[in-house]
């Protein structure tokens, strides 16, 4: 597992995609930071985090698109499948590498709340707790998105197809909340309950919900498991 993780990490640092996406992400966050915090003089960075949650829909699939598709295209999938390691180790190793890249990107954005800290009179930020909670939510949301897009990418050998199917799936998840709200009733309620984004907004307004934490972890593990099953299934078909 560590082997796979190390290999994926070095591959991320070698390719320009990770740097591009991190740069793009910082620009977006910076822009929102300017509008939401500086221009409107708000000390709450969680407001910005809440707004950029939507952009994960486009950023996460780009992080995960190469993980499985590239192996199939280069024929290196054979190597992993015939090596004395399990598919679970491969999937988890790759997932953790993608998660590390995402985590690094999230860490980069902490420069903004630190700026806010300096701008706030007296140097103390009463919103620190809420910002921290929002970060936890942000990372959990990203973690679950990574797992979903890794699963969708396990169906294809083309990076483009992997990215597109990932974006589409995340868009569906994104709209689940509003669809649920429109429909109302029990079915709408269920949709809303399952929407990862609805739970994320709980975090950004400063309410820490233990059930949501469990939800995200289960969600992530479920899709990782589904990825393993999907890859194992191909052995038999």
């Amino acid at each position: 597992m560590l082997t796979i993780y190390k290999r994926e990490m070095s591959s991320y640092f070698r390719s320009p995609i990770a740097y591009c996406i991190a740069g793009f992400f910082m620009v977006i966050v910076g822009l929102y930071f300017w509008i939401q915090n500086i221009l409107s003089s708000s000390p709450l960075f969680s407001v910005t985090l809440s707004a950029i949650g939507m952009f994960l829909t486009f950023i996460i699939p780009i992080i995960t698109m190469k993980l499985l598709a590239d192996e199939k295209k280069n024929g290196t999938e054979v190597l992993l499948r015939t090596a004395p390691i399990s598919m679970g180790q491969v999937v988890v190793g790759k997932y953790l590498a993608a998660f590390t890249v995402f985590l690094a990107m999230a860490l980069l954005t902490t420069v903004f709340p630190i700026i806010l800290l300096f701008l706030t009179e007296g140097g103390t930020n009463s919103a620190a707790g809420q910002d921290f909670g929002a970060y936890v939510g942000f990372i959990l949301l990203g973690a679950s998105y990574l797992a979903v897009t890794m699963f969708t990418s396990s169906f294809t050998e083309s990076q483009t197809a992997a990215a597109v199917s990932g974006v589409v799936t995340l868009l569906v998840l994104y709209f689940m909340q509003s669809i649920g709200a429109t429909l109302g009733g029990t079915f709408g309620g269920i949709l809303k309950w399952f929407s990862p984004l609805a739970r994320y907004s709980d975090f950004t307004v400063g309410s820490f919900n233990f059930a949501s934490l469990i939800y995200y972890i289960t969600f992530t593990m479920l899709f990782l498991y589904a990825t393993v099953i999907n890859l194992e299934r191909k052995r038999w078909s």
């Binding site: 560590l2 070095s10 591959s11 280069n74 024929g75 999938e77 054979v78 015939t82 004395p84 399990s86």
Partner: protein, 315 residues
């Protein structure tokens, strides 16, 4: 060492493998022959655990690849048709990754990698990125990958495809050198390759084993040889007449003229050595023999026979 029992693989309605069984003893080099699409790669993919069979077993040194995949896979080095290379890594990084993957101990690693790189002659290129290597060198890196961890069994799927003649000879030599420490299955559709390196042959056609045995059994399968290539100095009609009248000769066919000599293919009746009468008759007619050589069936002929026979049966 390797045992394959009643292997069947079904892709939808197509049976890629149909009840295939054979075994390879320790130290053997088995040539796995067959036309394209006969099921060679499918068999190898099952044997290495890349895909699973619909039914049947593949057992490596006592470990079933389905029931005991980890142990079985440790015993195998596999070079697939397309070498599984990470193009963005250098040779050294790549082989180190393979060591990690196969769990080679850290302290043994350096010596082992040096050995392997020396053996496949890529030591000077260890810092080069794989993407920039030529096809021949990529193949060598692929072979190096299979050798990491010193597996007892090597499975090589068409290892010389796409290489130039010099590289082909080098790779064959290398495989020959590996025979002392490894049991090898080598798939190919190049028959001279089998003649050059293999001790045993399995011919597979349309998912079924069409023939199997040792290479020497195959090439002299007819028992006594009854075909001779003969090269004689003289005029063609005169030679032909003498040959046809020679006792024991059943059939004479003209092959070609080579400088002042004519070359004929002479077939005798079965179980009769026709060489002495030929010599006597030709010397009586003052026709000097330049060359007289028995012709065994080549693997090519056997292969085509086997493949065609199946086609006829089917019709």
């Amino acid at each position: 060492m390797i045992e394959i029992k009643n292997l069947t693989k079904q892709y939808g309605v197509i049976k890629a493998l149909d009840d295939v069984s054979f075994s390879v003893k320790k130290g053997e080099i088995l040539g796995f022959l067959g036309p394209n699409g006969a099921g060679k790669s499918t068999t190898m993919n099952i044997l290495t655990g890349y895909i699973s069979p619909t039914s049947g077993h593949a057992i490596i040194d006592g470990y079933d690849i389905i029931e005991n995949p980890k142990e079985a896979k440790k015993k195998i080095g596999y070079l697939p048709e397309l070498p599984p290379l990470y193009l963005d890594m250098t040779i050294k990084e790549y082989l180190n990754f393979i060591c990690d993957l196969k769990g080679v101990e850290q302290k043994k690693r350096k010596a082992q990698l040096d050995d392997i790189m020396y053996l496949v002659k890529i030591g000077d290129l260890r810092g080069r990125v794989i993407r920039n290597l030529s096809k021949g060198y990529k193949q060598r890196v692929g072979l190096a990958q299979a050798l990491v961890g010193n597996p007892e069994v090597l499975i090589l799927d068409e290892p010389t495809v796409g290489l130039d003649p010099k590289q082909i000879i080098e790779i064959r030599k290398l495989i020959g050198a590996l025979r002392h420490e490894h049991t090898i299955i080598l798939s190919t559709h190049i028959l001279s390759e089998v003649n050059a390196v293999c001790s045993n042959v399995v011919i597979i056609n349309k998912g079924k084993i069409a023939a199997s045995g040792s290479v020497s059994d195959f090439t002299s399968a007819e028992g006594t040889v009854n075909k001779f290539m003969i090269s004689i100095v003289g005029a063609k009609p005169a030679i032909q007449k003498v040959l046809e009248n020679c006792p024991g000769v059943r059939n004479v066919s003209f092959v070609r003229i080579d400088k002042d000599a004519c070359i004929f293919l002479v077939e005798s009746t079965r179980n009769l050595d026709v060489r002495r009468p030929l010599f006597n008759e030709l010397s009586r007619a003052s026709l000097p023999i330049l060359e007289l050589r028995p012709v065994g069936r080549t693997l090519e002929e056997i292969f085509i026979d086997v493949v065609n026979k199946d086609a006829v049966v089917e019709q």
